[in-house]
């Protein structure tokens, strides 16, 4: 394996840990998207391009969009307002 693969695998582990440790759910979903993207590059390096295409479309695209919608339904991406703004 080349250095590039090791860097990608390291990024994969770090982002997987970050997804579970981030308190902000929106950030966690964005990091999860980047995880899927790196995973698809790794599939490419493992010589399975069809899995790479599917991972990029489903993992990074559709799943994250569904997560965003769920967060919106749960009102988890409300912008936290400061008290003085509320008074105005």
């Amino acid at each position: 394996m080349t250095l590039f693969t090791y860097v990608l695998l390291g990024f994969l582990i770090v982002s997987a840990l970050c997804v579970s440790l981030f308190k902000n759910l929106l950030t966690a979903v964005v990091v999860f998207m980047s995880y899927s993207l790196v995973m698809s590059v790794i599939w490419m390096l493992l010589e399975s391009p069809d899995l790479a295409i599917t991972e990029a479309a489903v993992g990074a695209g559709v799943t994250s969009v569904l997560f965003f919608i769920t967060l919106k339904k749960l009102h988890a991406i409300e912008k936290r307002r400061k008290p003085e703004n509320e008074q105005q």
Binding site: P49, D50, I53, T54, A57, V58, G61, V62, V65, L66, I69, T70, K72, K73, I77
Partner: protein, 335 residues
């Protein structure tokens, strides 16, 4: 009380009315005022008993309060800390145990690319050596999943269809009995554009640029599934993602013209039926050594590989529609 002997019924009604726990004889004794001294004695005993009860109750309340204070104090200071530390230690232990277990399992697997590993048996050898000749597909993966193991793929598409139906049943918000929108539907409509500006120019311009390319790429991947990497599922997912982008940019009014529940049901049902019938035909002729009218063709041509191209199209349509319907239902509960 009656002077004569009361009947059972009278006795019963009297007992009901008086609702006294004492029977007639005792009542009479009491009425006579049999013993004042005894009464006084009884009163004193009763008072002493009451006092004792009260004392006991007070001490119990005090003890309980003290205990509660102690527990409260413990949870606020030492207890919460101890519980948190124990919980975290337990979590770390479980994570490490699962990781170690999985790594042990991985170590037991044959090395990547080992010629003697059990994966490289006669089945995969046949797929690789005779796959192109038998299926006519240059892409070995497409030959495998849509020819040798086509019923697996039919099952997968059916699972997607069933999942979409389940989501539809759970999340769809219907009109009410008179065909008018319900309060829930109105609330969903109002909530739909909660964080998103309507007719966002940047999004619309970039979508107008990107969506045709995305859709074309998806169609290319589906139609070229037997020649190059990809196939029905990947292409369908890409087309679904492109449709979602279009919906985000231009809203439900634009996509509703071509896509609604009826179109979704018809497309997925027809695709799955076509898939099932076509594969039944090919398996039937193959198993009975009959001559099939579907020929593998010349490998490398776009119209080759027999049924793989139409099956790819069917799978792609199911997947694209399912992705879109998932999104629409999650977002608004309708289309």
């Amino acid at each position: 009380m009656n002077s004569s002997k009361p009947s059972l019924k009278q006795k019963f009604t009297a007992w009901l009315e008086n609702a006294s726990m004492l029977d007639d004889a005792m009542e009479k004794d009491l009425a006579k005022g049999s013993d004042l001294k005894a009464q006084e004695n009884e009163k004193a005993v009763y008072e002493a008993w009451e006092q004792r009860q009260k004392n006991r109750h007070d001490t119990a309340v005090q003890e309980e309060h003290a205990l509660y204070e102690r527990i409260h104090h413990w949870t606020m200071t030492g207890g919460a800390k101890t519980a948190t530390i124990l919980y975290r230690l337990f979590c770390i232990f479980v994570c490490l145990a699962v990781t170690a277990f999985m790594l042990m399992m991985v170590l037991d697997m044959p090395a990547y690319g080992n010629a003697n590993s059990p994966v490289n048996n006669e089945v995969s050898a046949r797929y690789i050596e005779k796959g192109m000749e038998e299926t006519g597909a240059v892409n070995i993966v497409a030959g495998m999943i849509l020819d040798y193991r086509a019923f697996d793929t039919l099952g997968e598409s059916t699972v997607l269809f069933i999942a979409a139906c389940a989501v539809l049943t759970l999340l769809r918000i219907d009109l009410n009995r008179h065909g008018l929108p319900t309060e829930e539907l109105i609330a969903a409509e109002a909530d739909d554009r909660h964080h998103e500006p309507k007719d966002d120019v940047i999004l619309q311009r970039s979508a107008a640029l990107l969506v045709p390319i995305i859709l074309l790429f998806g169609i290319y991947i589906i139609f070229n599934g037997h020649l190059s990497p990809g196939g029905g599922f990947s292409g369908g997912a890409i087309i679904g993602a492109g449709m979602i982008l279009y919906l985000n940019a231009f809203g439900f009014k634009a996509t509703g013209k071509i896509m609604n529940f009826r179109v979704f049901t018809v497309i997925t049902f027809c695709s799955l039926m076509f898939y099932g019938l076509a594969k039944t035909y090919s398996f039937f002729t193959g198993a009975n050594h009959l001559h099939s009218i579907i020929s593998p063709g010349i490998p490398g041509n776009i119209f080759s590989a027999g049924l793989i191209l139409p099956l790819n199209i069917a799978v792609g349509m199911v997947v694209a529609c399912t992705m879109y319907v998932f999104y629409a239902l999650f977002r608004k509960g309708g289309m």
